[in-house]
């Protein structure tokens, strides 16, 4: 396939493949207010659970030399609040809104989607079976293909909207998990959530994050994500949404060459929201020059 900027997902055509990754753009309200969403195709909200979650004890963030560790722990106001006050704020956003859904139990996924169905704002879901920062659910679900299948089945039975299952690179077999999601009716898979990482203070022997390990993101992880996107895209027929390691326009083109339909920006947007339009410009320049 010839490299290009246009992209499509779930029957929608987009001018570009850029999505804002879950947890790095809140519910989009800040970026909307700042007028920075115009160049994104879609944004994925912070993970939403059935009830409000406080999140983990601080410290939740550690900057390492080459990347960022986070341990937010799915802090969010809960599905009711999201439906009542946050999604309505995004009703006229210039990009598509996708809600990221998490749960501590299999059943919770169904409940969250059930509540969220009351809103008309979002076009679909990203089902998070891969959060490295919670003790119940999260990553533990994602490493077990049977759990991935069961969660996909539950979500499929709860909504007619399209959804992607966001997979973990931290154990299990990501290709197997993607096949399970496809088999049970998922409309895409997101490859992948953050990598489990840790920073310690060697003087005290103590981890910097309160929970010990956290989710690690870094531009240096691009080759790891590229390999997993390539493996998964070769194995399933549903679209693959790439997530991880993007900073330059070139990275987006590389992930698409590996088989990704859409490409997410996470840490890059936290660091510099204007990367959305800068990356787009870089892609245009590269494609004109090629």
């Amino acid at each position: 396939m010839k490299p290009r900027i246009e992209a499509s997902l779930w029957g929608r055509d987009f001018g570009n493949p850029l999505m804002l990754a879950s947890g790095t753009c809140g519910y989009g309200t800040e970026l909307l207010e700042a007028g920075l969403l115009g160049d994104a195709a879609a944004l994925v909200t912070k993970a939403t659970t059935a009830r409000p979650r406080e999140g983990n004890a601080p410290p939740r963030i550690a900057d390492t030399r080459f990347g960022l560790l986070n341990s937010i722990g799915l802090a969010n106001p809960g599905a009711e609040q999201v439906v009542e006050s946050l999604l309505p704020e995004m009703a006229f956003a210039p990009c598509a809104v996708i809600v990221n859904v998490a749960g501590e139990t299999l059943e919770e996924y169904r409940r969250v989607v059930g509540i969220l169905e009351r809103s008309e704002v979002h076009v679909g879901y990203e089902i998070n079976v891969s959060c490295p920062n919670v003790s119940a659910g999260g990553m533990a679900f994602g490493t077990d293909p049977a759990c991935v299948a069961e969660i996909t089945r539950l979500v499929r039975s709860s909504t007619g909207r399209p959804f992607s299952v966001k997979l973990t690179p931290n154990g299990g077999d990501i290709v197997e998990a993607a096949k399970m999601a496809e088999g049970e009716g998922a409309d895409a898979v997101t490859v992948c959530n953050t990598f489990l990482g840790m920073k310690l203070d060697w003087r005290t022997g103590r981890p910097v994050l309160s929970r010990g390990a956290g989710g690690y993101s870094s531009p240096a992880l691009l080759p790891l994500v590229t390999a997993r996107v390539w493996q998964v895209a070769s194995a399933v027929g549903i679209p693959v949404i790439a997530s991880g390691g993007v900073w330059w326009g070139e990275d987006v083109l590389e992930l698409r060459a590996a088989g990704a339909s859409m490409v997410q920006l996470g840490t890059a947007v936290l660091r510099r929201p204007s990367r959305i339009s800068e990356i787009l410009l870089e892609m245009r320049t590269l494609l004109e020059g090629s």
Binding site: T24, G26, A57, I61, A62, D63, L68, P219, L270, R271
Partner: protein, 253 residues
């Protein structure tokens, strides 16, 4: 959230290990209030992955310049400290909630670099008495106006902690008390203030930050109402009563 390229106008060491940088950015200065902060990009590439937060130390509306004062700690601050005038840095700000400045008579209590924001605050209120603590005279941040000092080694002002300077002060004579410094110091000051005066205390908090603009939830501060505040949007300045000091621990959150 505004993000702009700001030119480094000046960069010099205030004292060993403490650097002062002046950035030119009239638009930012126009919007800024005391206690607000900026997120500074230390490099143009993707690393370090996070920006570094700094309190607005002083602003000159006429020149369109704002200053930050910081301690050189790790890679981010050392790179910044080696900036030559002319360097351009991406700076987001002003961010967060600053001091509520309607009060008249202020007491400013600062520990170490906590005093960085006091010049801006002092210049924004009717009257300010400043108490500063540090480990030694070299670590005392100059705040411009007059100040009383306490140093742990006695090399400047009184030997002891900044809380010692509170002894004998009539705290009730101040309409507002601003406190900024390391967590244990802020805790001690807050405890030294009688219960009935607590509502007058505003503390300026620090926390590790992912974004600085409310998106990541990385900057949690234990709230007295349960759960957490977001330091970057609910703070960094909050009333002392909004914080659950028992869950604050001794260090950086």
């Amino acid at each position: 959230m505004k993000d702009r390229d700001c030119r480094v106008e000046s960069c010099s060491f205030e004292c060993p290990g403490i650097c002062r940088i002046g950035f030119s950015c009239p638009a930012l200065v126009e919007e800024a209030g005391p206690g607000q902060f900026v997120m500074v990009e230390v490099s143009d590439g993707p690393l370090p992955a996070a920006r570094r937060p700094f309190t607005l130390s002083s602003v000159s509306k006429s020149k369109g310049i704002f200053e930050i004062v910081f301690e050189v700690k790790g890679p981010g601050t050392s790179s910044l400290a080696s900036s030559a005038p002319g360097r351009s840095c991406r700076v987001m700000g002003p961010l967060g909630r600053g001091y509520e400045t309607s009060a008249d008579r202020w007491l400013l209590v600062g520990g170490g670099l906590g005093a960085a924001g006091f010049p801006f605050l002092a210049a924004s209120v009717r009257s300010a008495r400043v108490l500063l603590g540090a480990s030694c005279s070299d670590a005392l941040v100059r705040t411009g106006g007059e100040a009383e000092y306490a140093t742990e080694d006695g090399s400047a002002g009184r030997r002891g902690l900044v809380t010692d300077l509170l002894d004998g002060l009539d705290l009730a004579s101040f309409d507002a008390i601003a406190v900024c410094g390391p967590t244990p110091m802020m805790k001690a000051v807050v405890e030294a203030v009688p219960d009935d005066l607590r509502p007058r205390v505003q503390v300026s908090l620090e926390s590790r930050m992912g974004c600085g603009w409310g998106a990541c939830g990385g900057c949690a501060i234990p709230a007295s109402a349960g759960g957490y505040l977001k330091c970057c949007v609910d703070g960094p300045v909050v009333t002392a009563q909004a914080v659950d000091w028992s869950r604050m621990g001794g260090g950086l959150v």
